[in-house]
């Protein structure tokens, strides 16, 4: 045990003596999130709205007034046809289009129901989401007002239908946070672990460790533990930054989010070990973890591109990418606020991947030079 502790300490020396690497490891998540953060505009002020109002009655007028009165929106255009919407968005002055159904007030009064469409420019999904959320809230408050003054007791129901143009699946900053988490954890755990073991091989110190009574499991643990801690630090930074800087709330259970992250960390560490058992050189370890792990995380995990639209083969490959399941799970828990029962599948898949990979990488660890 004392051996192990001394060795873990040694590993921390390696990490912290290399100032540049330490800085990169600790600052990388912060930098990535800040970059993402800049790409997001959460501020909604004076968003131009285009209105298509075929009814032009007291209800639609009231809603438009309410929207303008909020200070968030200002009508820039009245449209004569919904077909103009796309053109208006292209001009760039308009962030939201409000499309009322025909005979809005009449329908509301007689059937108790009326439809309004909120179309936003999905190219900036965060902005779009915020804008439509605000608009929905304002419309809902009009509905409340209406109910209060109602004498007939009819439960008036205005159903806003939200649509994002150009980016219907709302890929964006909200989705970036889980993606960045997946990338950083994979990077720290898999890449750094494999590189640090490969370094011992390259320098020849592994030869000395093997020719000693040091248990292989200790060698492995001493490599894994420091990066485990580092990734926990990174996980914490990412979560704090995303909640307080990017205002991406943790909608669901923090506990299950952490469980999910821990499982993913184990998978990544085991992958790092596995890679290191196959290579002799740091450069090769770096390339393999870069090519075989990071690339799929970026391209196939659904972080940047929707996997659903990819060819069959790529979709199949994406199924075995741990980051895909992790990112999916994080989205469900963190963004959508679903309960743990909704991520049972993700937990099970990551859990079994972790077990299999750890067993295989321990078995693969060489007690000799070949």
């Amino acid at each position: 045990m004392q051996q192990l502790i001394a060795f873990i300490r040694k590993e921390f020396y390696h990490i912290f003596r290399d100032r540049l690497t330490t800085a990169i490891l600790l600052l990388l998540p912060i930098m990535m999130l800040i970059l993402v953060g800049y790409a997001i505009t959460t501020e909604v002020r004076n968003t131009g709205i285009a209105v298509y109002d075929p009814s032009n009655d007291i209800a639609t007028q009231a809603i438009i007034n309410k929207l303008e009165a909020s200070g968030y929106f200002g009508v820039t255009r009245y449209l004569s046809s919904p077909d103009e919407i796309e053109h208006v968005f292209r001009e760039g002055k308009t962030g939201l289009a409000v499309v009322f159904s025909e005979r809005f007030y009449e329908n509301l009064m007689h059937t108790g129901e009326a439809q309004v469409q909120l179309l936003a420019d999905g190219a900036d999904p965060n902005h779009a989401i915020t804008v439509t959320n605000y608009a929905t809230t304002i419309i809902a408050s009009y509905q409340q007002d209406l109910l209060k003054t109602s004498v007939s007791g009819i439960p008036y129901q205005i159903s806003p239908e939200v649509k994002l143009l150009y980016n219907p699946e709302m890929k964006g900053a909200y989705n970036f946070v889980p993606g960045v988490m997946g990338m950083i954890l994979m990077l720290i755990c898999a890449m750094m672990t494999s590189v640090s073991i490969a370094r011992e091989k390259e320098l020849g110190t592994m030869e000395l460790l093997l020719v000693s009574p040091m248990k292989p499991i200790y060698i492995i643990l001493s490599k894994v533990v420091p990066y485990f801690f580092l990734s926990i630090i990174n996980l914490t930074t990412i979560l704090l930054l995303s909640v307080y800087l990017l205002k991406v709330p943790i909608a669901g259970s923090l506990f299950w989010l952490i469980i999910l992250a821990l499982l993913f960390i184990f998978v990544s560490l085991a992958l790092g070990l596995l890679i290191s058992s196959m290579v002799e050189k740091q450069l090769v370890a770096l390339l393999i973890s870069g090519m075989a792990l990071m690339m799929p995380v970026v391209f196939l995990s659904g972080m940047l591109f929707p996997v659903e639209n990819m060819p069959w083969l790529l979709r199949m490959i994406s199924e075995i990418i741990p980051a895909k399941w992790f990112i999916m799970g994080v989205r469900k828990i963190m963004i959508k606020g679903l309960t743990y029962s909704s991520i049972t599948k993700e937990l099970l898949i990551l859990g079994s991947m972790a077990v299999v990979l750890i067993v295989v990488s321990l078995k693969k660890f060489k007690i000799r030079l070949e």
Partner: protein, 306 residues
Amino acid sequence: MKVVTVQNISRNFGKVEALKDISFDANEGEIFGIIGPDGAGKTTLFRILTTLLLADSGKATVDGFDVIKDYKQIRNRIGYMPGRFSLYQDLTVEENLKVFATVFNTTIEKNYDLIKDIYQQIEPFKTRRAGALSGGMKQKLALCCALIHKPSVLFLDEPTTGVDPISRKDLWDMLIRLKKQKITILVSTPYMDEASLCDRIALIQDGRFLKIDTPAAMTREFDKILWSVQSDTMSKLLADLRRHKKVKTCFAFGETHHITLEDSTLTPGEMKNYLTGLGHTGIEISPIAASVEDCFMDLSGNQTEK
């Protein structure tokens, strides 16, 4: 007592035969030198004996334990210093030593006596990172690390390659002191002059042992006539000697040239006449006893054609 036994060890890497049918024993408290150039198979042999590689065929034991079956026991009782500097360059001298003490479940204090002589030489630099040490210092630190657990057998793979003559001498003084503590030492070196410091030596070339014996017996058994020849123009002398029909081999050996003769009828006088005739001055010719290097060059047969 035989501490290391090796029987018919062979090992190939693909098509390359790194070791061919190697057999030898090393006794307790003996310095056994494996002498040969780079690429002769020394490192492969050491790796097999230190349980890092498996031989294709043959058997070997270290301290009574089989190198394959009992590798764990062997790893507990040997010290190993690989050919290239294999310590943590980013850790300090003292930290390196501590790390290796821990690896072997011991402390610096427990075995300080054993390493004291060498460690005292590097102790002034104990807070310096190992990567910033000079070649000789690095080797001394590596030796300390290999000795920290008081091993019964010490494997030193080319500890003096690239090290200056002074540090080499320090290192050998240390080995001779260790030998007195009954530690068996297997050491490989490309420096033939270090052979005489070993109790017994094996000459290795292309994966084969050319000969195993004590340095004295080996040089005694040199069966050719060997002369040392000198003149004022050494580079011309080399060419002229090689042109002589009765000269078998001719090599520069420091300030003189060593020649072996095809036939024993030639006398130094005749040779002197031959050289004087070619315009040489300051000629000195004397029959000499062979050095290990002469033996190696003779046995290896790796000689330039005349």
